[in-house]
Symmetry: C2
Subunit: 122 residues, 2 copies
Amino acid sequence: MKNLFDVIKLDSDGLIAAIIQHSETGQVLMLGYMNEESLQITLDEKIACFWSRSRQELWRKGETSGNTLKVEEVRCDCDQDALVLQCVPAGPTCHTNETSCFYRTVDAKADLALAGDGVAPE
Amino acid sequence: MKNLFDVIKLDSDGLIAAIIQHSETGQVLMLGYMNEESLQITLDEKIACFWSRSRQELWRKGETSGNTLKVEEVRCDCDQDALVLQCVPAGPTCHTNETSCFYRTVDAKADLALAGDGVAPE
């Protein structure tokens, strides 16, 4: 049995990409990054914790907004440099109050538009 | 109307993360990276093209294996540093012949195990 921490491939900043997927709807909610400490916290507490690249600090998502991500399952990819977390969100995941950060479509000309499933702020 | 190329936030290697999701099943298949050229090719041809970080070259996925990813929809996140592509895969996405690269679970002790939906090589 391999342990993730023995084989994990972190990037030059010591981070691994973590895709957050809604465990019930399958919607991809956000892409975050974890260092080993935030990954360990996530595995221990079953609440998603990231490394904030902009603030350069641990980011316990939802600590202020209440919009936590309860972790149901963690998966690892074939070369151990990406994770998928199946989560139950306590509220909108995006800071814009959209359900998902991926609320805009990109057309063939690369123009951005609001997707049809965009929601009103809660 | 904003154009993605005017607002895209590329990392220090000039890349953006691209999450590939099966457009029918919702399964997350892989995480790849695109530079502007491979993103433009993807938007033009509707077949996913990446930048291979290991080989440092354009990677037209499926060019040799035939396991292309037909792109149905592209979405962009709130800060324009990640994409989700809804795709129809022509075959297994992972080089291991698994449907998805995320075929292993990570438990609370960070031990890796094959997920129940792992498939036999085709």
